[in-house]
Structures are given as structure tokens and as C-alpha cells.
Assembly symmetry: C2
Homo-oligomer: 144 residues x 2
């Protein structure tokens, strides 16, 4: 397995952080190639549905199928992003970490999505720093 997808997702998250945004990034791969990346855009564009995964799917544009794709994301997908993965029939998701936010990994697995959690320390530290520094923004992003 290539790490290209994970590195692209992590780079997207860092780009978002550098813009003053929420540091969560995602990448969509087909045949081992990155076809789209995205990061959370709540701060940058005021768009509450633009989580990293959603921004990457938007960037990918219309697709005939997602059954041959893999979604990488730096953080466990929330219910919105998990529902989207299920609806779009993305078969495999690689998650940077699920320590700082548990997401809906069990929902994904219960619907047949293969989920791998890398437990990457760079992702954990990035989110821990962000959650400590911007607790209100983080709460808003997850609907708390």
C-alpha cells in the first residue's frame, strides 16, 4: 500500500491550519493515484458542510462510481462524512487517527466499509493542539 494518500491528506490538513482553519484533511485515490484533496473550510469559507472528506469529494466533482476509490482522512469521519461514504459506496477508508474524536467507525463497518486506523502521532498531536487552542471552534464543527 502506498502512503501517497495519507501524505496528501496530511498535507491538506496542514494547509488548512496554515490558513487559520480546522486542521483536518482528506484525499481520494483511484488506482493508487490522488484524484482530489480537500480540507475543512468552515473558517475559510463559512461552509459548515465542508469537512475535509466533503471538500475532497466536492473537488473530485461528479463521478460515475466511487467503488474503485479509497478515501484517506486525517481524523475519524463524523456522522456526516460517514453517511456520505456509505451513500457514495466508497469501499475503503484509511483514517489517520481516532483518539481525539471517535467518529462513526462502527457505523461504517456495519455497512460494509473497510476501515483502517493508522493511529498516526502527527495527526493526534495536530488535533490535540487545535482542540486545546480553539475549543469553541472545534465544538461548533462537530455540532456540540
Amino acid at each position: 500500500m502506498s502512503d501517497a494518500g495519507f501524505e496528501a491528506a496530511l498535507a491538506a490538513a496542514r494547509d488548512g491550519l496554515a490558513e487559520g482553519g480546522i486542521p483536518i484533511g482528506a484525499a481520494i485515490l483511484r488506482g493508487g493515484e490522488v484524484i482530489a484533496v480537500g480540507h475543512n473550510e468552515r473558517v475559510q469559507s463559512g461552509d459548515p458542510i465542508a469537512h475535509g472528506e466533503m471538500a475532497a469529494l466536492r473537488a473530485a466533482g461528479r463521478q460515475r462510481t466511487y467503488r474503485d476509490t479509497v478515501l484517506y482522512t486525517t481524523l475519524a469521519p463524523c456522522a456526516m462524512c460517514s453517511g456520505t461514504i456509505i451513500q457514495f459506496k466508497i469501499p475503503r477508508v484509511v483514517v489517520g487517527e481516532a483518539r481525539t474524536f471517535p467518529g462513526e467507525i462502527e457505523l461504517l463497518r456495519s455497512r460494509g466499509v473497510e476501515v483502517e486506523v493508522l493511529d498516526d502521532s502527527r495527526c493526534v498531536e495536530m488535533m490535540r493542539d487545535f482542540q486545546r487552542e480553539r475549543p469553541a471552534l472545534w465544538a461548533e464543527d462537530i455540532g456540540e
Copy 2:
């Protein structure tokens, strides 16, 4: 209960149809007032995540909370839109119809969302016509 939300959602769906798009609309209400509307934008803007509910949420912009809102939609919410309703903690959803697409109403209810299905014949006819006339576009929109 006011019908303002349902009428706004239906009008949005018809606007989308008039633009050559997929005729599904949504409205978000707070205190009985429509604060945002949206319709599916897959055709119009090439955005696969812009289902009616998602477009309305994007139009509403950043919100501190959704716990005092009601979401109206002309068609049963798919897994993406249902996951979003769950994540954003929208407590109540009014659905125009669930005959032409079952959506994820049971998932919503299992997570504590109150769902009312109106079974409105205008919504059913609009979707039946669309599904008959544009089967490939409809399949694409629901990830089939």
C-alpha cells in the same frame, strides 16, 4: 404546525427542476421562520455533495446550534444527509415523501431524530417523473 417549511422546500425543488437539475429541495426553519433553502445542485454546479438538504445547510452558513431548527425536505434523506442531520443534531425532520426513495429514516429515528413523513403526492409525482425521464442521472445522484 406551519406549512411554510414544506412549501419552501417544494418551491426550491421546483426551482432546481426549472434549472435542469434534480428536483429535490429543502428548507431550514427556526422559530417557524425559514432561515435557508436549497436544492440539489449536481447538474447546476457539478457538486456531488450538494443534495437539497446539504445546499440548505450551506446556505444557512455557520450556526452556533441546530437544536432549535427543523429541516424540511421533499424526499427522504439519503445516508449523507441523514448522517449530517445526526452530526448537526437537528432534532426534527419533515419529509415530503419516502415512496420513490426510502432514505435512511430508520437510522435517523434510531439516533433520536423525530421524523414526520407527509407522503405528499406532488413530491411523489415530481420524483417519479424525474426518475423515469433521467434514470442515469438519478442513479449517479444516489451512488448506484
